[in-house]
């Protein structure tokens, strides 16, 4: 009882000091900002993302904070709407990668033996490719489009979590409380569900936070290479491709890149803070 309240107090204190760190506060603020944008941009944006809002390729001004692109669309509005493309896809990639990684990784670690070998060889093989080559090949094979880019990224990303979860499950499996659970006759399924998994998620959680920024970048990268979202849609990477064609009208490409940068930095800071707060050793 006392132990748990002391633990709770320590956790609360950790959380308070966490938000006091400027980097973490910045990360949280930026993440919150983008979350609000994703939910509500349709209600308050000044222009439409897909229709002409002014003259073509005008530089940033009061009417168009980040200028207009080659079709006279407002770049700032498009960047805001772009969050609706990049962020949900990235969150979904991480979600499915963690899910698949958890199921396969914990199965490998818990069951061991043949299943372990098969799953881990698959992991080794997938990780034997530089991520982008594999993602590009898969995305190209499935055909361009954000949905296929999403599939490609899940395929590239799950092995990281499988490896992480397996290591974690293996280390917890040897602890005393598992021995105790076995001795009172708990079934294997119950031990995995109630005694191992709840303790195994912390490293994956920290990693997932950090990876979110990387997935946002990879999504934009695939779109930039013509393998993700296609031009009229306001996806950040696709917007940079369009911007690259109008090199001297720098604002067209700069604005979406800044958006990617803020997201990448924010989740890096958040993940760093989370790791310190949860006391996970860097892998």
């Amino acid at each position: 009882m006392t132990a748990s309240t002391a633990g709770a107090r320590r956790r609360r204190a950790a959380r308070r000091s966490l938000l006091r760190r400027p980097t973490v506060a910045f990360g949280a603020a930026v993440a919150l900002f983008w979350l609000i944008v994703v939910i509500s941009v349709g209600w308050w944006a000044r222009y439409e993302p897909l229709s002409k809002a002014g003259a073509r390729l005008t530089s940033p001004s009061h009417a168009h904070w980040m200028g207009t692109d080659a079709l006279g669309r407002d770049v700032f509005t498009r960047v805001l709407y772009g969050a609706r493309q990049s962020l949900p896809v990235s969150v979904a990639v991480i979600f499915f990668a963690v899910m698949i990684g958890t199921v396969l990784g914990s199965a490998a670690g818990f069951l061991g033996g043949f299943i372990d070998s098969v799953i881990m060889r698959l992991v080794d093989l997938t990780l034997a490719f530089p991520a982008i080559f594999l993602a590009m090949a898969i995305a190209a094979a499935l055909g361009p489009g954000l949905r296929n880019a999403f599939l490609a990224m899940v395929i590239v990303w799950w092995p990281i979590y499988a490896r992480l979860m397996r290591a974690q499950v293996l280390s917890i499996k040897g602890r005393e409380h598992i021995e105790a659970a076995v001795s009172i006759g708990a079934t294997r399924g119950r031990i995995l569900r109630r005694h191992i998994l709840p303790l195994s998620f912390t490293p994956a959680l920290v990693n997932a936070t950090m990876d979110l920024g990387q997935v946002v970048i990879l999504t934009a990268t695939l779109s930039f290479l013509g393998l993700g979202a296609k031009p009229p849609s306001p996806e950040w990477g696709a917007m940079i491709t369009e911007g690259a064609r109008f090199f001297y009208q720098w604002w067209v490409a700069v604005a979406p890149g800044l958006a990617i940068l803020t997201v990448g930095l924010a989740f890096n800071f958040l993940g760093d803070g989370l790791r310190d707060a949860l006391d996970v050793k860097a892998n």
């Binding site: 590009m136 190209a140 970048i217 890149g257």
Partner: protein
């Protein structure tokens, strides 16, 4: 040591086989019809043309037959013929390898050297402004989309300030130096053309920096962590108590012990270098493997896609293997085992 290295070597063929199979598999699951790209949309209704093309490009027969044909050819060093360039993929890759290698080598020097220096600097000034600045700089390297920062720097440094030359490996309307190594810088020197050498070097600078920066982020972060681990060790206190200058302590004692993890990091991050090179080459119109991969993906050029994935997997594998061997050489615990 030999046993450790041997064990690593033993699994290489299996990994290679897996890599080949996956590369083959991916390109055969292409959803749209590559024939449309080969014979053109209009000829698709002409069975004669279609069958001839299928036969020529090895698209007839079942998946199993295609796979055995592919494997058989692979053993003879034949990766098939690119649909787009109509040249053997091995020749295409060979032609483009020096460009990528030249770029990656420059980036490795900038990123690796800069990363180690930056990480060591940050660790020695832990929690001071220098530390924060160094960490922010390296964090930016890994949070910036490579293709975007390449564009932005090109715009500022080339278009606005004119400090660096434009994209491309050669100045406009200048012929490549006679081919010996494929490295334009080396070939220019070989031909005794110092002016060409300098302009090739200048053209390398920005893309190498952009590529190296992405790499530097990972390196410096991990070097900093490795050095911080060492800084608390007793032998460091002893070294300081002897009155050694701080630089000497860091260089001769701490960095030397932090060297092992650093080596691993350098080797294992080569994959990241390959990844970033795809984008750097696209932005800087660098005719290397990376831009070849992008063109192949955009035109559904199967043989080229398989070839490039195979190359990427093999290069990554080789880099990891070299790292393992170097590690074994450098670490007495493994060397003597």
């Amino acid at each position: 040591m030999s046993r450790f290295v041997l064990r690593r070597l033993m699994i290489v063929p299996f990994l290679l086989l897996g890599i080949v199979t996956i590369s083959f598999g991916i390109s055969r699951f292409i959803s749209s019809d590559p024939l449309a790209n080969i014979v053109g949309e209009r000829q698709l209704n002409n069975p004669e043309v279609v069958n001839a093309a299928k036969k020529k490009w090895g698209l007839d027969g079942g998946l199993a037959k295609q796979y055995t044909t592919y494997m058989g050819n692979l053993f003879h060093g034949d990766l098939g013929t690119s649909f787009r360039t109509r040249q053997p993929v091995t020749k295409d890759l060979g032609d483009r390898l020096p460009a990528t290698f030249e770029l990656a080598l420059g980036a490795l020097i900038i990123g690796g050297g800069g990363g180690v220096a930056l990480g060591a600097l940050a660790a020695s000034r832990k929690d001071k402004p220098t530390d924060h600045a160094a960490r922010l700089f390296s964090l930016l390297g890994s949070s910036l989309p490579v293709f975007w920062i390449g564009l932005v720097l090109l715009f500022i440094l080339y278009a606005r300030l004119g400090w660096v030359p434009g994209p491309g490996r050669l100045p406009p309307r200048v012929a490549a130096p006679p081919d010996h190594t494929g490295f334009y810088t080396v070939d220019a020197l070989w031909a005794g053309d110092v002016k060409l050498f300098l302009s090739c070097l200048a053209r390398l600078a920005l893309p190498c920096f952009v590529l190296g920066w992405a790499y530097m982020g990972t390196i410096s972060r991990l070097v900093r962590a490795a050095m911080l681990d060492e800084l608390h060790a007793d032998y460091v206190r002893t070294a300081r108590a002897k009155g050694l200058r701080e630089f000497r302590v860091l260089r001769s004692h701490v960095l030397r012990n932090a060297w092992l993890p650093t080596l691993t990091i350098l080797g294992y991050s080569v994959g990241q270098l390959l990844t970033a090179s795809v984008l750097t080459e696209t932005i800087f119109q660098w005719n290397g493997i990376g831009s070849y991969a992008v063109q192949a993906s955009n035109t559904l050029d199967y043989p080229a896609i398989s070839g490039v994935s195979l190359f990427g997997g093999a290069a990554f594998l080789l880099a990891n293997l070299i790292t393992d061997v170097l590690y074994a050489v450098a670490d007495p615990k493994i060397r003597l085992a």
